[in-house]
């Protein structure tokens, strides 16, 4: 039968504490991740209410789509364009 020395017991206790701390860290990280996902999801559902900059590269590849998906705004040729996605 193997006997655990006092030193090893302390190490085991320390490892146990480390493991608990690690679990708490993972738990907190998961909670933060879930909160972040929730915030992103809610902001997407709520729509783009705050104003945003047109970002380069300008053009249809970097468009700002309306909440209902029917229209898109984009920049190009020194102008702002509106595209009807339904046509």
């Amino acid at each position: 039968m193997l006997r655990m020395s006092a030193s090893n017991r302390r190490k085991g206790l320390s490892a146990s504490r480390d493991s608990a701390a690690h679990r708490r860290y993972n738990h907190n990280r998961n909670v933060r991740g879930a909160c972040l996902i929730a915030v992103i999801a809610i902001s997407q559902v709520a729509g783009q209410r705050g104003s945003v900059y047109l970002k380069p590269p300008f053009g249809i590849q970097n468009q700002l789509v309306s909440p209902d998906g029917a229209f898109a705004l984009f920049g190009g040729d020194n102008a702002l364009w509106l595209e009807d996605e339904r046509t």
Partner: protein, 162 residues
């Protein structure tokens, strides 16, 4: 090939200075155009017609006496004037920031205010440094200058189109 119908909304001098925001119902959008470093104008565009409402004009028409301090036309000291539509509160109401500064170093004397506006009506405004605002604000139930709860009600000011 992309066959979607495209319409030009407006000419833009510098594209990175344009900020946009769709209304929640997709019927309109805001375009803030900082055409020059010392001026920014805000517009609401109707998606169907692309007719636009110039919010600077609307505010000055409805509240010119108090709001003129934000524009160099009436206040020569307001050399840098920015009328910025900040966000949609719902499909009708837009929160705006009015701010700027005089010439000087590094940025002169700043001035700042905020407005809650619809397409045809100026609802509330908050010009913290304006005497008229302070008089009105003293009688208002809320005391905060930060946020919409501190705005002065202006429901009698209807904006005339054109």
């Amino acid at each position: 090939m992309n066959a979607h119908e495209r319409r030009k909304v407006m000419e833009v001098t510098v594209l990175p200075t344009v900020t946009l925001s769709w209304s929640p119902d997709s019927a309109a959008f805001i375009a803030n155009d900082r055409a020059f470093s010392d001026v920014e104008n805000a517009y609401i565009y109707d998606v169907k017609t692309l007719e636009r409402i110039d919010l600077r004009r609307q505010i000055l028409a409805a509240d010119g006496t108090a709001a003129s301090r934000f524009t160099s036309d009436a206040n020569p000291a307001a050399n840098h004037s920015y009328f910025h539509a900040l966000r949609w509160l719902d499909a009708r109401h837009v929160e705006m920031q009015l701010y700027g500064h005089t010439d000087g170093t590094p940025n002169g004397k700043p001035f700042r205010g905020s407005v809650l506006i619809t397409r045809d009506r100026l609802i509330r405004r908050n010009y913290p440094d304006h005497p008229a605002h302070r008089l009105s604000h003293d009688s208002a139930p809320t005391g905060s200058h930060a946020g919409l709860e501190g705005l002065v009600s202006l429901t009698s000011l209807t904006v005339r189109s054109g």
